[in-house]
């Protein structure tokens, strides 16, 4: 008998809430988490870490949510593919590299997207700017609708 499981979605919001709009990613993750939908995991952190590869590999669709210093307002969305790029002398890990670790170590890199929410100020203040809040609202509208569509279109997947 073939068992089936619902599509599992992961939202990884990252940034520092103590640095104004750098907190857009965690704010988005917090809002998604509060929706309380089943099979939807939302976590926030200051940054991506190598052990997040385990969480990534355990889901079917992944959204990486971060603030953006440049680019389109209120937000932009790009596909993310595994990429073995690393940074100069840094603890930084980018979504594409995290996917590559998931692929390499767990043999699984699910479809993934980068949601970049435009931010404006990044100083030591623990609050989003007015513009950041407005962009967050728009981004959450898109994100929840997208997750809703994924769940409606493909509520079940074959279990491995």
């Amino acid at each position: 008998m073939i068992r089936t499981q619902p599509t599992k979605v992961l939202v990884l919001g990252y940034g520092n809430p103590g640095r104004q709009d750098d907190g857009l990613g965690p704010a988005a993750a917090g809002a998604i988490d509060r929706m309380g939908w089943s099979n939807l995991t939302a976590v926030d952190n200051y940054q991506l870490n190598i052990e997040d590869a385990l969480e990534v590999a355990a889901h079917d669709v992944v959204w990486f949510v971060d603030a953006s210093k440049v680019g389109d307002a209120p937000f932009s969305v790009t596909d993310v593919s595994p990429s073995r790029t690393v940074e100069f002398t840094s603890h930084l890990l980018r979504p594409a590299a995290l996917l590559a670790i998931a692929q390499q170590y767990c043999d699984r890199a699910p479809p993934a997207f980068q949601l970049a929410i435009r931010g404006y100020e990044f100083e030591f203040v623990e609050a989003l700017t007015q513009g950041g809040r407005e962009n967050l609202r728009a981004a959450l509208g898109m994100l929840t609708e997208s997750i809703r569509r994924v769940r409606a279109r493909s509520p079940l997947r074959a279990a491995p």
Binding site: G18, R19, D22, Y46, I50, F88, L92
Partner: protein, 476 residues
């Protein structure tokens, strides 16, 4: 030929802005190198005016790399403000458990993610391979250790604070919760394997040392003083204890210094070209008083380690110093692995201590106007100093973070690399790689977790004496 400057200018997300400037003299020889860190600013202003009991939570926002270290150090300082000299055994051990979990996972990140590609694949390996992916490919076991030791450290933090990030374990005078039996048992189930993997990683590292003895001892190395917390019995102590400093020949500069007296021994100097301060030992002055902190200093300053596997590893390690301190900059990694073993062993001990299930969590005392605390964070000595008014609002704050303590030492290491590896007028890939390797040994946390898309890649600029750009090289 005119004097020139070579500027290596990384602008990374998590760690703010940093760049390396190598200045040549008229003869084309390396005259000086500076590792600029330009994001350390605003910490103190961020904290001023906040209520003292808020501070242990707020200060986590200072750094996305080591928020737990700031949380714990601020809590210790605010214990004193709350009139509490010693928290309850349950509170003390809960904090220690969290601290050792944090140091374990942070040191694992440096060693496995940042340093192991250089050490296991070689400094000269192509950049496309000299990264964590190349390590996972060539050494699949190392990739597993990296991910699961990191994950275990995060589990410890989550178990002690109830949440994976933004922990709220500590309050002035104690902690908010004890360790549940369920979480304790889950951690007990994994800790034996974690210790084994740490030991395996050390053995792998020692095989690298054996094969690269000359490089290991000489790379970016120089004699220096060292400073670290040390226990009252001389043992390694990462959470509490007294400050000790030793000279390059191993002789004591000061010892048994209570954190409250730090200004009698350490002075902070400001230089025009850097936002980072330059702390140095007051009695030795600006030129001679700089020192190194971090795992290498922790190993050099203590006389023993109170857990058996780490102590055996320490005895092996000190032989590299030939009777004095170990000065090899790459030995930071060796020391870091020993610290990881010590952390894992200490976590194991704590998990079998029933005090962690105690219910006596917080005590109160008579309020004081000042609190000063020091811990050994993953990158070394971290100091928090606060003054508080009668309303409980913070009126002043001074933080000396680990990377600041290593400021001058990192400049010296980059200078050594430039002298040894810069040839002609070209900024070669090899030079860049070696500069990276030297800086990584200290595991600097360049800033405070600002991190948004759109920052710039590494930019390398060659300037003449007048500041005109001769050439620019961008590294993605």
């Amino acid at each position: 030929m005119s004097a020139r400057k070579i500027v290596i200018d990384p602008v990374t997300r998590v760690e703010g802005h940093g760049k390396v400037t190598i200045r040549l003299n008229e003869a084309g020889e390396v005259e000086q190198a500076r590792f600029h860190i330009v994001e350390f600013r605003g910490f103190e202003r961020f904290i001023q005016g906040r209520m003292f009991w808020e501070v242990p939570v707020i200060v986590q926002r200072l750094c996305g790399i080591c928020p737990v270290s700031h949380h714990l150090c601020a809590a210790k300082a605010m214990d004193l403000v709350a009139g509490v000299d010693r928290v309850t055994p349950t509170a003390d051990k809960m904090r220690r458990l969290m601290h050792y979990g944090q140091v374990l996972q942070s040191n694992a990140l440096n060693f496995f993610h940042l340093a192991s590609p250089d050490l296991l694949l070689g400094f000269g390996a192509p950049i496309a391979q000299r990264n964590i992916f190349g390590v996972i490919e060539a050494f699949p076991e190392v990739g597993k250790w990296a991910i699961f030791i990191r994950k275990f450290g995060q589990m410890v933090i989550e178990a002690t604070s109830g949440r994976r990030i933004h922990p709220r374990l500590c309050v002035p005078g104690g902690v908010n919760q004890n360790l549940s039996v369920e979480r304790r048992d889950a951690l007990r189930g994994d800790i034996g394997q974690i210790i084994k993997w740490c030991v395996d990683a050390l053995e792998l590292h020692k095989s690298y040392i054996h094969d690269n003895e000359v490089l290991y001892e000489g790379f970016a190395s120089f004699p220096s003083s060292y400073m670290s917390l040390v226990g009252a019995d001389g043992g390694m102590e990462l959470y509490d204890g007294a400050l000790e400093a030793i000279a390059a020949d191993g002789k004591t500069i000061f010892q048994g210094v209570h954190p409250a007296s730090y200004r009698d021994y350490i002075i902070e100097e400001v230089r025009s070209w850097s936002y980072m301060k330059f702390p140095h030992i007051r009695s030795l002055g600006r030129e001679e008083g700089w020192y190194r902190v971090g795992p290498l200093a922790q190993l050099n300053c203590c006389t023993f380690i109170g857990t058996p596997i780490a102590e055996a590893a320490r005895r092996d390690f000190v032989a590299l110093g030939h009777g004095g301190p170990v000065h090899a900059t790459l030995a930071y990694h060796w020391a870091r692995l020993i610290c990881m073993i010590h952390c894992a062993e200490t976590i194991q001990d704590l998990l079998f201590d029933d005090d962690l299930q105690g219910n006596d969590l917080v005590i109160a005392g008579e309020r004081r106007p000042e609190g000063i605390a020091i811990i050994e964070a993953p990158r070394g000595t971290l100091l928090h100093h606060y003054t508080v008014d009668g309303n409980g609002q913070v009126t002043g704050a001074n933080l000396i973070v680990s990377t600041t303590n290593n400021n001058e030492a990192m400049n010296r290491s980059v200078t050594k690399v430039a002298v040894d590896y810069l040839t002609g007028h070209e900024i070669t890939e090899a030079l860049l790689n070696h500069v990276e390797v030297a800086i990584r040994a200290y595991d600097p946390c360049l800033s405070c977790a600002t991190h948004a898309l759109g920052d710039m890649p590494l930019i390398v600029t060659l300037e003449d004496a007048e500041g005109a750009v001769i050439t620019t090289r961008v590294k993605q």
